[in-house]
């Protein structure tokens, strides 16, 4: 289960909406598994169907988490025309078995779609999101 404050969830949703029609991506840092902040990242692919975090930004974000005694809690990105479920590409590239993978969809302007998964060794397991 991913437990997260409404403010952090809303920040991910806003980021996804702001970057639509391109995919948005970011990290959620936390302490003891509890999310404490959202780190919005640059999608260098700038694409409606693909995302790749800027590698330099990624290194700096991981370094900063280390320096602040935080851990990587979640990785989020948006789908702009399909459901909030990991694509085959997402599964093939997933390299962080320790993280929650949060998927958002911006296909419907008025409908909020946000789901959380684990992706370990190519196996996707959905988990509930508890807000609060």
């Amino acid at each position: 289960m991913l437990r997260i404050d409404a403010a952090l969830r809303d920040e991910m949703v806003s980021h996804a909406r702001a970057d639509h029609p391109d995919e948005a991506c970011g990290l959620v840092a936390g302490v003891d598994g509890r999310p404490t902040r959202v780190i919005q990242m640059t999608n260098i692919a700038r694409s409606p169907t693909f995302y790749e975090m800027d590698p330099k930004e990624q290194l700096l974000a991981f370094r900063e988490m280390d320096d602040r005694d935080e851990e990587l809690v979640a990785i989020y990105h948006s789908h702009t025309a399909t459901e909030a479920f990991p694509s085959r590409t997402d599964i093939a590239i997933a390299g962080y078995p320790e993280a929650h993978y949060v998927l958002l969809s911006t296909r419907e302007p008025e409908v909020e779609e946000i789901r959380s998964f684990r992706i370990v060794d190519g196996v996707v397991t959905e988990e509930p999101i508890e807000v609060g």
Binding site: A45, F50, Y51, M53, P55, Q58, D90, G95, Y96, P97
Partner: protein, 91 residues
Amino acid sequence: MAVQVRIPTILRKHTDGEKQVDGSGATLADLLTDLDGRHPGLRSGLVTDEGELHRFVNVYVNDEDVRFLGAIATPLTDGDVVTILPAVAGG
């Protein structure tokens, strides 16, 4: 030539859970070959059959992305810090 290497979680199964290991080599390619001797399987998680770095692996030498240095042929010197991070990417 001693180099510190920071290992991401997904590859720590090859390093007995160690976050950081030491290695040596005149280039990144040499370093990965050296590490594979003590940490079997580590190299194949990073390098293709053609001997290039996998597309979705980020390797940094002293915080510089090796894509902008010499890729797998990037030269190393004593005291360098090599950081390996799986790219965060998808569709």
